[in-house]
């Protein structure tokens, strides 16, 4: 997907740079090898861009101009129509699935418009109405509270503990980060994905982690609401 966008826009002077937020770079490897990117494809196993740029879920993106200045802050980077928006909710579906799909439908459909905005910026540069001034970019970035700062510190101590091989300590730090900054899905999804299922299999995308974190992706998605799952681009 990103490789195709890169090929389309490279002649206009725009390059895609992807950053994989994976504690274990090898988890990202097969995706990268399958995409065979010709653009820079980087790995941020320490989650540094989370706090440097305000990334709080994936995919999210920032726009950087030719001088190294941000012209749009971190925002949800869907670039195609949501597959869930068109999905019909039927009575035959399990109740939980119906509830999750209902919440997905609460997310505004921004993919096509966001993609069109990227193309407009590639073509028109600073003249694009989607390119912000430095002051606008700072003002449009997400609020950062003292709790968010503490959450970042706790998440980082969790990574350090995990790298020491002390998984219980890592989980304790990550639980603190999750409680301090519930809207940060990066902290949650990264931590949960390290848990195995009760029968020993790798955690899947649904990330049902009741046994370890006492929660699950769908519990938290339903509690936070579809509209808060990512930062909605204001175009």
């Amino acid at each position: 997907m990103w490789q195709a966008l890169h090929e389309e826009l490279e002649p206009l002077g725009l390059s895609v740079v992807t950053v994989a937020l994976d504690l274990d770079p090898d988890k990202a490897r097969r995706w990268i090898e399958r995409a065979a990117p010709t653009h820079p494809s980087l790995v941020d196993s320490d989650h540094r861009v989370d706090e440097l740029l305000g990334i709080s879920n994936v995919p999210m993106a920032v726009w950087i101009d030719e001088t190294g200045t941000l012209v749009r802050p971190a925002e949800g980077a869907a670039v195609q129509p949501s597959p869930f928006a068109a999905m019909e909710i039927t009575d035959e579906m399990p109740e939980r699935l119906r509830a999750v799909l209902h919440e997905f439908k609460q997310m505004p459909e921004t993919g096509p418009a966001y993609r069109a905005a990227i193309v407009d910026w590639a073509e028109r540069g600073a003249e694009s109405r989607f390119a912000m001034s430095p002051d606008e970019v700072v003002a449009a970035s997400q609020p950062r509270s003292a709790d968010h700062s503490r959450a970042a510190a706790c998440f980082e101590l969790g990574i350090a503990a995990e790298r020491r091989g002390d998984h219980p300590a890592a989980m304790a730090w990550w639980k603190q980060a999750h409680a301090l900054f519930p809207e940060n899905w990066t902290y949650k999804r990264q931590a949960w994905t390290l848990e195995s299922t009760p029968d020993g299999a790798d955690s899947d995308k649904a990330q049902e982690v009741q046994d370890t974190y006492g929660t699950s992706w769908s519990d938290e998605f339903l509690a936070t609401g579809g509209a808060n799952y990512t930062v909605i681009p204001q175009l």
Binding site: L5, L53, S145
Partner: protein, 114 residues
Amino acid sequence: MLLDSLDLTAEAFAGAAGWVAKPEGMCKGDSCVPVPGTVGDDGGLDVAAVAERLGMALVADDDAGIWALGPESGGRALTTATVPPIELPDIDGNPFDLTAMHGRKVLLVAWASW
């Protein structure tokens, strides 16, 4: 950022946190916050005082003997539109400095396997 000691020079702090001690205060990009008396004559920095003034959470892991310093807070996620120094490896470990992209527009996309 992780710290294994709170004895830090202003120079080391600037390298790690991006906040540079200047006569007008602690500065990052074009934004400066006055923090009087936090830099000693020996260039040492009162990390706890700077952290408090900038709203950076300083959290100790006593068992591991390390600290983590969260980002500045009390405002927005970005304090400046200037992209901070970002150097990250590719999947084979080759470092890539984002400033190599100067002269081109960049769509920087964060994704993950999870």
